[in-house]
Symmetry: C2
């Protein structure tokens, strides 16, 4: 890595929405040496991951190599590695390959993983949806359940194999359940001979009183209706007490199922526990209004890894892509202000709204105090996601892809996908 004498070193850990946006904004400053570290070679557009899990999109459609995002920024370095520890006092980061990188500014944006609330043994039977490997594993399980049902001659087992349970009624759970409903009603309808895919039973299980709790009660009711039309049974006030190979225990009921998916909880990066700084009850790092650590103003923690308060409501900000994007850009502004000797500003989240899609032609959305449902909300959802995705090199027909490859010398599918969906390991 080249380094200008005196150039400040900014180390960014994590190439998700927060880290990527911080790196993009800081990459405009030629007087900085920016290094972005990720254990993956790609940025993942998480909001569409459920579409990979439900076979609508290919992994490469929603992933983009971090290296190629910064290929024209010579002062931005991209390192494929895992951060094992941070030595705050020495201003250095330890990598899994044994090396140490020093910094003037550190931006931690490592995100979150699934939380099974102390029941890690459930993961095997109910994978969550955070990585491309998990998405293709879920896709495999969904498609295999239909294949097994087609071959099964015993009616009770056939029924079991055609039963899907999604645990967790937030946006991911709603979108997954809706996509399975849509798949069974439309996509697979004519493909099987001994089963009728449209008789698939799908259960969306939520521990709280309603699904999509961050939305209004009206939108939550509307989403429930839309889901029910796709054959999804929505069970609220239904905490899951056990998950095993054959199904899920929900209160008194045992739901036998061919496929169980987990969308119920997340926990922040395990790195947090090693930092020796104050954490909230969920393990997120408590940050100041400018997103830095009270003890180390040169260290920032963003996105799902941090507990940061909404300037207006004084409630913790939710784990959403727009929060991470805005925080990434904010940290870049704070660092630049520091370099110019100016005062740091507080982070203020601009809430543009939220949305969740429910299969074909249906969605719910909230924005600027207005609520949208049905086709209108779905078109909004489509537009917003295409708009944000369009920055990526996405798919053409193979032929268009080739023409494009020919003209731009680029390749679209540079992903490193591990063999095992549960633990990502480079070599």
């Amino acid at each position: 890595m080249e380094q200008k004498s005196g150039a400040k070193k900014v180390l960014i850990v994590g190439g998700g929405f927060a880290g990527l946006n911080a790196a993009k904004a800081l990459g405009k400053r030629e007087d900085l040496v920016v290094t972005i570290i990720d254990q993956r070679n790609h940025h993942l557009f998480q909001p569409l991951l459920y579409q990979v899990a439900s076979a609508g999109l290919s992994p490469a459609d929603i992933a983009s190599p971090i290296r190629s995002i910064f290929s024209r920024k010579d002062h931005v370095n991209v390192v494929l590695d895992r951060v094992q520890g941070v030595r705050l006092a020495e201003r250095a980061v330890e990598l899994a390959d044994g090396k140490t990188l020093s910094y003037d500014y550190l931006v931690l944006a490592c995100g979150a993983t699934h939380s099974y609330f102390g029941h890690e043994e459930w993961e095997e039977h109910a994978p969550g949806l955070k990585t491309l490997e998990q998405a293709t594993e879920i896709r495999r399980r969904i498609l295999l359940a239909f294949e097994e049902a087609e071959k099964e001659s015993l009616p009770t087992r056939k029924k079991m194999l055609q039963t899907f349970v999604v645990v967790g009624g937030g946006p991911t759970g709603v979108e997954l359940a809706g996509a399975i409903g849509e798949m069974s009603r439309y996509t697979l309808k004519r493909d099987f001979r001994s089963i009728d895919p449209s008789r698939t039973r799908i259960f969306l299980i939520e521990a709280g009183p309603r699904i999509l709790p961050s939305f209004s009660a009206r939108l939550s009711r509307r989403a429930t209706q839309d889901l029910e039309r796709l054959g999804v049974s929505v069970w609220t006030d239904s905490p899951v007490t056990r998950i095993e190979a054959r199904g899920v225990q929900v209160g008194e009921d045992f739901l036998e199922a061919g496929c169980v998916l987990w969308a119920a909880g997340v926990k922040p990066s395990p790195l947090n526990a090693t930092l020796g700084v104050p954490l909230d009850r969920q393990g997120r790092v408590m940050v100041r209004e400018d997103l830095s650590l009270a003890s180390h103003p040169e260290v920032f923690v963003l996105g799902d890894q941090a507990h940061s308060l909404d300037a207006k409501s004084q409630k913790p900000l939710p784990g959403l892509a727009p929060v991470a994007i805005q925080q990434g850009r904010h940290v870049a502004r704070v660092i630049v202000a520091d370099l110019h000797g100016k005062a740091r500003r507080s982070f203020k989240y601009i809430d543009k709204g939220q949305m969740a899609t429910i299969g074909r032609k249906k969605a719910v959305a909230e924005s600027a105090g207005l609520e949208f449902t049905g086709f209108t909300a779905w078109m909004m959802w489509l537009f917003v996601h295409v708009y944000y995705l369009i920055g990526f090199k996405n798919r053409l027909f193979v032929m268009l892809q080739w023409m494009w490859s020919y003209l731009t010398f680029s390749r679209g599918a540079r992903l490193i996908v591990s063999k095992d969906w549960r633990t990502f390991k480079n070599p």
Copy 2:
């Protein structure tokens, strides 16, 4: 499975080019019950697999769910299972899940796997390219080698990590070596800071006197020149005697390499050895001129699994997609002739030519006694492959994909990909 009384049962094992084309042709006959069995849920367009391995295309771009190909043919059943044995005397096939399927006609088209000529331990260090899992594993290894080289500070190890060895100078080996050359010269050129990808060393190792031995000596020379321009060193008369984690032993030379790929040999399906019928030295089933077994005229063996003679030259036909496609269609005609009480015809291969591409804008092609090179051959290659691929539901931009999904109720990426690239297991 529904069955008309008296309808003849045709069982097709394998959804590759041979089996798929037999099933398509027989699917037109409503008086037959056709069942196609494959351990994968998709047909794979093998000629473009090297593009998945070299990150040009996504797995879903070259795969198509067998079930959806036959969704409108109610008398065609698709079974996801592995065939474990054939009871020729009883006219029945044993499946891995314990069931038995009976047949009036059996079409075996199980293809081939890699042969390491008795050195199965080489596979770990030098994966071959037959499945999507192997393709994504090769992609992972190629991309990781560059990432590791970027991080490495020791010059000798850096050089080693930037050395690629492809064993086998047939079309697959040539196409893989060319694609790595192209990737290092163009795609990755600007992405790294501490290495220069265009200084990548690529060795194409062939045991015989020249690469592309099925082409003319002139085209073989031309391909060598084109490869050398992409930085590929072509070593002929160079049998590999050992492959280990650090590299490849070629005669007196040990080539230290960060990534070794195998494209040197194939062997037919292990099912052949269990049939109790005459095999050739490579283990392929000897078939008659109509592609049936001499002892069982109701059983046909096609594609890479069979040893069938070219009607003109009396030499065994090569393991190429056009041979498999034509054989699949031929067998359908033979079965229909049987049903009409007509005489069976012999299979006659119509050789339309062969082609191999060498990176960007370069290819070699032979057709109707004419030879083509460079840009012309490359355009032919492009046209032929797009033409054959166009029958599949291929990729659009995500947005076009969505519009198409919306209009047709289809999904593009319905693949079941296993966790482990070496052994494909459906649970």
